[in-house]
Point group: C2
Chain length 327, copies 2
């Protein structure tokens, strides 16, 4: 049973953690957005890869969703003492990841190989796959001008009004063989409840990935990041409004429509189900809010069972020791 998840940071990591908790990590491959990567103090930082890695390693900070639980910020405090006003808080342990990655990149190692090495060291059994080893950077076109993603997201706290998104370098980027192969042999493909524009679209913008998904044998299921017209976290809902799109699970399903066999929407949006079904997409209505570890595992289990029902040949659903019966 091969499971592939396309994911960004926090929301995607929660669902992947749920899969890990309910079905183990061995059969899980996660294709992760790297268009949020950036450089700080000369260090290569990959926020989504790190969030995924720390979460699957069980050392993620559950309060923030990013960084390492119990990390200290003495390096950060010293930078402040030097008069630097760092807009991006890096913990002392977290910094080790960036230092090593930067060094290994300088030595010519690919981001994929580095990610595999670091994740293995932390005991992660899932395959965490950067969408590409090439440089892709999200540029946000706003009413206040163009901004590099982290400037928009962290420095400006996603306040400027967005007009469009540019995935710089995407057209020339290549998906890695590992990504293409994972999609090819997948039994289930899940689009995580990550930001559709900022986390998933950059993955789909890497030439070859969308084509591979359109030809995939496995059912493709998206989990909504929008509940009752609001984002669970981050600027997804705000972006939908700014881009002139209906801010609802329906628009999310519409956004991915050509790829989807199934769509998971929240119980709070049950009334929207007929509109999604009308697109020819199978639906699962359930509680999608992953407020604790049990909720992560339960949602993952339900999504995997849903996938099993969409597959011509049954593979037996998610979990031998299923936490809850599928709804």
């Amino acid at each position: 049973m091969n499971i592939v998840v396309l994911a960004g940071g926090v929301g995607g990591a929660k669902l992947c953690h749920g899969i890990a908790l309910s079905s183990g990590q061995e059969h899980l491959s996660v294709v992760v957005n790297t268009a949020d990567d950036f450089e700080l103090y000369g260090l290569h930082i990959s926020p989504d890869l790190d969030t995924m890695m720390y979460t699957l390693a069980g050392i993620g900070n559950p309060q923030t969703g990013w960084g390492i639980a119990g990390d200290t910020f003495n390096n950060f405090d010293m930078l402040e003492r030097y008069g630097v006003q760092p807009w991006f808080r890096i913990g002392d342990r977290d910094l080790a990841t960036h230092l090593l990655r930067t060094q290994l990149i300088a030595e010519g190692m690919t981001l994929s190989a580095i990610t595999q090495t670091l994740a293995q060291r932390l005991g992660v059994k899932a395959r965490i796959l950067p969408m590409t080893d090439d440089r892709v950077r999200t540029v946000v076109d706003t009413d206040e001008g163009l901004f590099a993603f982290q400037d928009y997201f962290v420095k400006l706290k996603w306040q400027p009004e967005v007009r469009s998104l540019i995935f710089e370098g995407a057209e020339e980027a290549h998906p890695t063989d590992a990504v293409l192969r994972a999609i090819e042999v997948a039994d289930t493909i899940i689009i995580a409840p990550s930001n559709l524009y900022l986390s998933i679209d950059p993955i789909l913008a890497v030439p070859g990935i969308k084509e591979m998904l359109l030809n995939a044998a496995a059912p493709i299921i998206a989990v909504t990041p929008i509940i009752a017209g609001e984002s669970v976290k981050g600027p997804a809902a705000k972006l939908m409004r700014e881009l002139g799109v209906e801010c609802s699970a329906v628009a999310v399903a519409q956004h991915y429509a050509d790829l989807l066999n199934g769509f998971v929407l929240d119980s709070r949006d049950a009334a929207l189900e007929p509109r999604i079904a009308a697109m020819g997409i199978q639906t699962l209505v359930t509680d999608t809010l992953m407020t604790n570890l049990e909720a992560r595992a339960r949602l993952a289990c339900e999504v995997l069972d849903f996938a099993d029902r969409l597959r011509p040949e049954k593979l037996g659903g998610c979990c031998p020791d299923r936490l809850l019966p599928s709804s």
Copy 2:
């Protein structure tokens, strides 16, 4: 009263701290060895500059002589978790210095300007002057082959037998204007009790510095790093034996003879005094072991008073509120 000290790391920093404690930092310029600088995880590390800066800022670690007092090593622990076996322990706060320096170098700032900026931020009033802004690197030629300085010093714990030292890049290096100007206007020049071969010789190897010292109006005084045939710290004595030099204060005075007006040797070596005096060098015999802050200040005071006696025009010695009468 302008005081210039040529110095390496720990021993030099102690004496400079003594000067700071007894006479203030305002009139102190320290020319610091940078031939020990190296790169780790892509970071530019300047061990002697940092030891001097932390010590003069009052945040140095008095136990180790390097690093920051009370620093944590969570970054280091995480690197170990990643399977890296870091041979150079960098504290979390200390790391901020290397990160900023590396970033500022990448932005085109000189090591001198960076050092001034960082030191000012930490409240250091003395001028800490890298001997050059150019790249000079000590290479140690040993019975086990050639080693970069930090490999010899930290990794191999200075165990291989040294045949000679190479200051790579020194011939093409330029002293900074600040270094030349400091020596020019100095009233007192002190060669710190640093390793003569590894800390002071690289400074003297930068073309122009030795010439400027030979023409200096100020008396030049060296303080011995050798007491009773042993180094206070580090490999100085071992190196003297390996290089076939008598391991004593006499050989230190001999090493610097063409530069010196005065030499400070330890009371334990009082019997050697006539041999140094016979070179035409004035001597001060005193307790040179700086075991605590009071000892640092007392030695500094005595050295500055000694300098005053060597100067044709008296400037009034070291300290209005002198800790001890000069011996």
